[in-house]
């Protein structure tokens, strides 16, 4: 038996960040990861967006807090360059319908106190001269940006490890067990681990584990795909997206364009148990890119990949302490947009575990918000 103050299940960026902030406060933490690799799920398969615009108001406070207080200092804090750029997010539109979608998103975000506004074709091209002439409007949030998800995930791992966090990979958690009325044990194929607090930050797999103590978190998985080009000359530094979500992405510090997107068939994509590319999605993403950034039509794609997201039934995660199972904490169901809020989630989850004040209002992300039709 191995004991700790807190056990985090899942070594993605969420689990690593939680472990880091707990260790920084002096806790003894163990992180258990099923995969052989740290950050093998969505953490290393996403488009790297660090944005507030386009977010659900329930998770917006985390995005705003992180961008104001954590992301700008993250490379320094963790001792690894995470390639954070705070150069704005353009969400592009071409038609009246797009404009309607973007205006709706913008108005809702303004109501939450976010500095985002609609801009016209002229101003769009002032910001980014490489966009197609067809782009007629955009929402513009100057404080949005992007970072390198591979590095940010491993930076939290590296820094947490230096603070003494014990990471164990290839260790799949099989079940959870209560002792004397409270959650206490984590059971794997190799060992039994015990801790006062157990945080589930393992995406879709958190559903099966939480079920061992009678909690159901309504998530399903969906496959998303990304592609990356070879290094191109420096073109622009903003994060880009579109009204219809044809694609989203940015030019990385390295010069390559990292771009994600969808074919619309994600929910029914076939897979054989590994997150594998379909034959149609990269083509679909490429068509979307060429429509908006014609100059990239000759950029060479060097790699494509896929990853599952843990899609919550209402599109935002559960970040909470479970009242009826003492010792259980949940941070899962990030629904494809967890990367940008990961630092704020890590900090707040650590505070929740330690019983300290939170820096953000996360009351909209409670585990018990799901109710069947009346």
């Amino acid at each position: 038996m191995i004991t700790a103050d807190t056990i985090v299940v899942g070594a993605g960026i969420i689990g690593n960040a939680i472990a880091y902030y707990l260790a920084k406060k002096g806790q003894k933490v163990i992180v258990l990861e099923k995969s052989d690799n740290i950050g093998d799920g969505g953490s290393s398969r996403n488009g790297g967006g660090v944005r507030q615009s386009g977010r659900d108001p329930r998770e917006l406070p985390l995005a705003m807090y992180g961008i104001k207080n954590l992301w700008p200092y993250l490379s320094e804090e963790l001792g690894t360059e995470v390639e954070y750029y705070k150069k704005g997010n353009l969400r592009l539109g071409k038609t009246e319908k797009h404009k309607e979608i973007l205006t709706g998103l913008t108005n809702r975000a303004v109501a939450c106190g976010l500095d985002v506004r609609m801009i016209d074709a002229y101003e769009v091209r002032q910001i980014n001269p490489f966009l197609s002439e067809e782009v007629s409007c955009a929402s513009w949030c100057e404080t949005d940006g992007h970072a390198n998800p591979l590095l940010a995930t491993l930076a939290y791992y590296k820094a947490a490890r230096r603070l003494g966090v014990r990471f164990i990979t290839g260790e799949e958690v099989l079940s959870l067990k209560k002792l004397r009325g409270r959650l206490r044990q984590v059971i794997t194929a190799h060992d039994i681990y015990e801790a006062d607090n157990i945080v589930l930050a393992n995406g879709i797999a958190a559903r099966d584990l939480a079920a061992y103590v009678g909690i159901d978190i309504p998530m399903s998985s969906a496959l998303l795909e990304c592609l990356v080009t070879e290094a191109e000359p420096r073109m622009f530094e903003q994060m880009l997206g579109t009204a219809e979500a044809d694609f989203y992405g940015h030019q990385s510090k390295h010069g390559s364009f990292v771009i994600g997107g969808s074919s619309g068939l994600e929910a029914v994509n076939k897979d054989n148990g590994t997150p594998i590319n379909s034959s149609i999605t990269a083509a679909c993403i490429a068509r979307g890119i060429i429509k908006y950034i014609p100059k990239l039509s000759h950029a060479k794609i060097v790699r494509t990949w896929a990853g599952w997201m843990d899609r919550m039934v209402d599109g935002v995660p559960v970040i909470d302490k479970v009242d009826e199972v003492e010792g259980l904490y949940l941070a899962c169901g990030f629904s494809g947009h967890g990367f940008g809020i990961a630092p704020a989630v890590g900090l707040n989850m650590a505070n929740l575990v330690l019983g300290e004040n939170l820096t953000c209002d996360i009351s909209g992300l409670a585990y018990n918000r799901f109710a069947a039709k009346a």
Binding site: N37, D40, G164, F167, E172, A282, A283, I301, R303
Partner: protein, 106 residues
């Protein structure tokens, strides 16, 4: 196959070597010393090494240096290179221009 690996910090200082400046990944210009240091910092698998350093992620997609990188990582970890899973190969086989991939017409 998943294998249990404890990533706890080892109580060893990083030791620089004479040949640390040697270029291993030519596409991304990564040296032997950078790879050795990455292992010391906790990057234990080929997937982690490439995500952390970019080596084997350039134009040749590791066709030139993947074996060399693997040899260095294995030596640092003190295991045989065939114990290390190669990083996943990804499509397309060769760098392909965006307009070619985009064209679905027959």
């Amino acid at each position: 196959m998943h294998e249990l690996v404890d990533r706890s910090l080892k109580d060893e200082e990083f030791e620089e070597r004479e040949d640390d400046d040697m270029l291993i990944c030519r596409c991304e210009e990564i040296t032997k010393g950078e790879i050795r240091r990455a292992v010391h910092d906790g990057m234990y698998t080929m997937a982690e090494i490439r995500r952390y350093l970019r080596c084997t992620m350039g134009l040749c997609q590791g066709q030139t240096c993947a074996k060399l990188v693997k040899g260095i990582v294995a030596k640092e970890l003190g295991v045989s290179p065939d114990k290390l899973e190669p990083a996943t190969s990804r499509s397309p086989m060769r760098p392909t221009e965006m307009y070619i991939i985009a064209n679905e017409e027959k």
